[in-house]
């Protein structure tokens, strides 16, 4: 085994240091009020493989994954229910060694059977297999060893397998006729919390006293009230919520309220928002036109005005920074976007001005993008490009961009566990569909043999250096050929108060995504929290 990524230190050290404080001090600690996603009401659904109806906290706090992947530090993988993994058969077989002594909250021991059952279930029920894992078979080899075989090389899917598939208890789930419609209303997991109360407007989770990380968690009770987007703003303003992940229009006035040491926020990048040129449009297919557009757009102003300064201008490669340095070619490490109207005009000299007319399609519920589109329109007018911004319904935007019926649009691409996932999503030729057919990525319809070669090279190896090299190649294409124009990072929203608990992720210590709606990161954050000393 070439590479066993082990960042055990954090776990063991934390385990020792808090070993001395007994659980009783924990129970007197106050509950933590969390708002993860906007909801008017909750349905009693705790099936971690449901996409939308499932209540937040099901994966991470109740059902845990085999490994934890920190997206803020690409490549940092922490053993969780599994201690290590090993690839064999050129990426078609993956063996996990499991942690011993872990118990389900009903007292049953957690074993390799549970893991094998979970993956077998994904194989048998395509509806639950949302990462489209090409599982051939999953088998328990020993109580602490499980092997999953795949139909094709799956190195690049390690995150989905180990970091995105919550394990469910075989002894309870095997009794279910149909796991697709099973709502798991009395969830039994291995995680740090268990569901204690449920109602349509509020549910609570209390700590699992026999959790496998000794002395943890220190937050005894989690409270999840239902707030719509609107009501949350008032709740934040009135201090009802301790941890939220929301876009707040004026965070200083509504949330910070002059107490920056207590009411904190951290908005790290979790993807990149790009200006998409439809490359099937003959004018936008010209590299000089895209370059001119990129030079004309004042991204600083967009970030300041439309995004209210909550995020940063994207790196020209689109790779999230800081964090993604290893995936950026060295020569572009310090590259940055600059506005150059003169040069843009120069580039456009050979193009018939009558052709420089585009519509810019944005989903009107995304008010920040609507504002950004307005700014882009103003900027492009300065270099002689006429843009008509058109705000459409979210559904309409999804369908039009998916089918390639647009000139320009704005769209976010999630970063995934490493920047490769973002690149693949944006550039992979296999995702490009003919106009009129709904694509699920590569909406600008970029087709380039070199790009596809690099993507295939990444997927065919488990060597970190080789993977990084392939990603650097893709990053280079982003800068030099500009298939899509990065604007700014899409921020992960997180507001938190430090009056009850401390130990939140920060720019200095980005140990997990700070937003409460990211799974299983939110559970990792909870395990780091300690009562504030007053």
């Amino acid at each position: 085994m070439k590479r066993i990524l082990a960042v055990l230190a954090a776990l063991t050290v934390a385990g020792c240091s808090s070993g001395g404080s007994p659980a009783e001090t924990g129970t007197s600690a106050p509950p933590l009020v969390i708002h993860a996603i906007d909801a008017g009401t909750f349905q009693e659904d705790f099936n971690p493989y449901h996409l939308e109806g499932v209540n937040f906290g099901t994966s991470g706090m109740i059902h845990e994954t085999l490994m934890y992947f920190n997206k803020l530090k690409p490549g940092e993988i922490t053993p969780w229910l599994a201690l290590k993994y090993e690839w064999a058969d050129k990426g078609k077989s993956l063996t996990f060694t499991l942690r011993q002594g872990v118990k389900w909250t009903d007292g049953q021991p957690f074993t390799a059977d549970d893991v094998a059952f979970t993956f077998q279930m994904l194989k048998d029920h395509a509806q639950l297999n949302t990462s489209a894992l090409e599982i051939k078979e999953a088998r328990a080899l020993a109580p602490d060893k499980v092997r999953v075989d795949f139909k094709s090389t799956s190195y690049a899917k390690l995150y989905n397998i180990a970091g995105g598939s919550p394990i469910v208890p075989k002894h309870l789930w095997e009794k279910q006729q149909d796991p697709v419609t099973f709502t798991n209303s009395k969830p039994v997991g291995t995680g740090p919390y268990k569901l204690s109360k449920f109602s349509a407007q509020l549910y609570e989770m209390e700590k699992n006293p026999s959790y496998w990380q000794p002395g943890k968690p220190e937050v005894p009770l989690l409270r999840f009230p239902a707030y719509t987007a609107n009501a949350l703003q008032t709740a934040l303003q009135q201090g009802e919520v301790d941890w939220a992940g929301a876009f707040v229009p004026d965070i200083q006035k509504i949330f910070v309220q002059g107490k920056p040491e207590q009411n904190k926020f951290f908005f790290p990048p979790e993807g990149v928002v790009t200006l998409l040129p439809n490359l099937t449009n003959p004018v936008l297919a010209k590299p000089e036109v895209r370059q001119a557009i990129s030079l004309a757009v004042d991204r600083d102003k967009i970030v300041k005005v439309a995004e209210r300064g909550y995020t940063k201008v994207a790196h020209p490669t689109g790779v999230p920074m800081p964090g993604g340095e290893a995936y950026v070619p060295p020569e572009y490490k310090d590259a940055a976007f600059k506005v150059d109207v003169e040069k843009a005009k120069e580039l456009l000299k050979g193009v018939d001005p009558a052709q420089l007319k585009f519509t810019l399609l944005v989903p009107s519920p995304f008010t920040d993008w609507v504002n950004a589109a307005q700014l882009i329109r103003e900027d492009l007018a300065k270099v002689g490009i006429t843009v008509e911004t058109r705000g459409v319904a979210f559904q309409d935007w999804v369908s039009k961009v998916g089918k390639g019926n647009y000139d320009l649009s704005i769209r976010a691409t999630p970063s995934g566990p490493t920047p490769f996932f973002q690149m693949r999503q944006m550039l992979f030729g296999g995702l490009a569909k003919p106009v009129g057919e709904a694509a699920t990525g590569n909406y600008e319809r970029w087709k380039d043999a070199e790009t596809d070669r690099l993507i295939d090279a990444y997927a065919a190896t488990e060597d970190l250096a080789e993977q990084q090299q392939a990603t650097q190649g893709l990053a280079k294409i982003m800068v030099e050929k500009q298939p899509a124009l990065p604007l700014f990072y899409s921020p992960s929203w997180a507001q938190y108060r430090t009056d009850k608990y401390v130990g939140w992720p920060s720019e200095q210590d980005p140990y997990a995504m700070p937003s409460p709606y990211t799974s299983p990161d939110a559970a990792v954050v909870l395990l780091h929290l300690k009562p504030a000393t007053k």
């Binding site: 609107n230 707040v248 229009p249 004026d250 005005v305 439309a306 009107s364 008010t367 609507v370 319904a393």
Partner: protein, 277 residues
């Protein structure tokens, strides 16, 4: 008196919608660096979060909001007049069918229907929003007009016209229609108010055309920017107030018309017991 005040309000807003944009000339969507400024000499009504001038938006928004109101009122009333008059005049099977149709639309809950229809609209342009509102708003007028037509039909001049061999179409639209004009006017004005309110509601829910500046979309952006919570009342108050004022104006004119038709409704102290005229 009521009519005068109401008409005054309407004239004011109509002038604003027609000539305001010509006077101001600026782009209502144009952003600037002075975000969230309170009212000042430079920006009489202050600015939005992205530095858009609120007065400019109000003036341009008047066009769109009143336009939606007028357009859907015109569509709805053309429909109402056609269905109500034709049904009422012809009677029989035609009337039965049209009545059932009218009553179905009366009973179906309007706002949910508007929301559902708007939810399915691929293009939420101003015109399509107006059409959706009209589709759900014509039935009341049709019912009232049918009832009126039934009584007008029996009058002498209609009978005379019929005797002289005029066609049904001519009788309906050249003999009966003019007599019913006050009723149509009342129903028209009421529909305008309802349509403006519906457009505002749809915008507030994010279901109308948000890339066009209208009073409704202004309220949507103000609410999304939490204008009240951050103290930017100048962003939230004006669009709502304009809608309310224009609605009041229309309603006052409407009551005025009613009172001319039905003098008892006047607020002026009258001798309570009075022989009926």
């Amino acid at each position: 008196m009521k009519i005068k005040i109401g008409a005054g309000i309407l004239v004011f807003f109509t002038l604003m919608a027609v000539f305001g944009p010509l006077l101001i000339g600026a782009d209502p969507a144009a952003t600037s660096d002075d975000g969230l400024q309170g009212p000042s000499a430079a920006h009489w009504l202050g600015t939005t979060q992205t530095g858009q001038d609120i007065l400019t938006q109000i003036v341009y928004g008047a066009r769109v909001s009143m336009g939606v109101g007028l357009l859907s009122a015109v569509i709805a009333n053309v429909f109402a007049v056609a269905v109500g008059l034709v049904g009422g005049y012809l009677g029989g099977a035609v009337d039965e069918v049209l009545s059932v149709l009218t009553n179905i639309f009366l009973v179906l809950p309007a706002l949910p229907l508007i929301i559902v229809l708007a939810g399915y609209l691929p293009q939420r342009g101003v015109a399509s929003v107006a059409v959706v509102i009209a589709v759900t708003g014509w039935a009341w007028g049709a019912r009232v007009l049918r009832a009126q037509t039934l009584s007008v039909r029996r009058r002498d001049f209609v009978q005379a016209a019929r005797a002289s061999g005029e066609g049904a179409f001519r009788i309906i639209f050249f003999e009966i229609l003019p007599v019913l004009l006050p009723v149509i006017a009342t129903s028209f004005l009421a529909t305008v108010v309802a349509a403006i309110l519906a457009e505002a509601g749809l915008s507030f829910l994010g279901l109308a055309d948000l890339s066009t500046v209208s009073w409704g979309s202004m309220l949507y952006f103000a609410q999304n920017g939490q204008a009240l919570l951050i103290g930017a009342w100048w962003w939230f108050i004006p669009p709502g107030l304009c809608i309310a004022l224009i609605g009041t104006g229309l309603a006052l004119v409407n009551f005025g018309i009613d009172e001319i038709a039905n003098p008892r409704l006047r607020t002026v102290k009258t001798v309570k017991v009075k022989a009926r005229t």
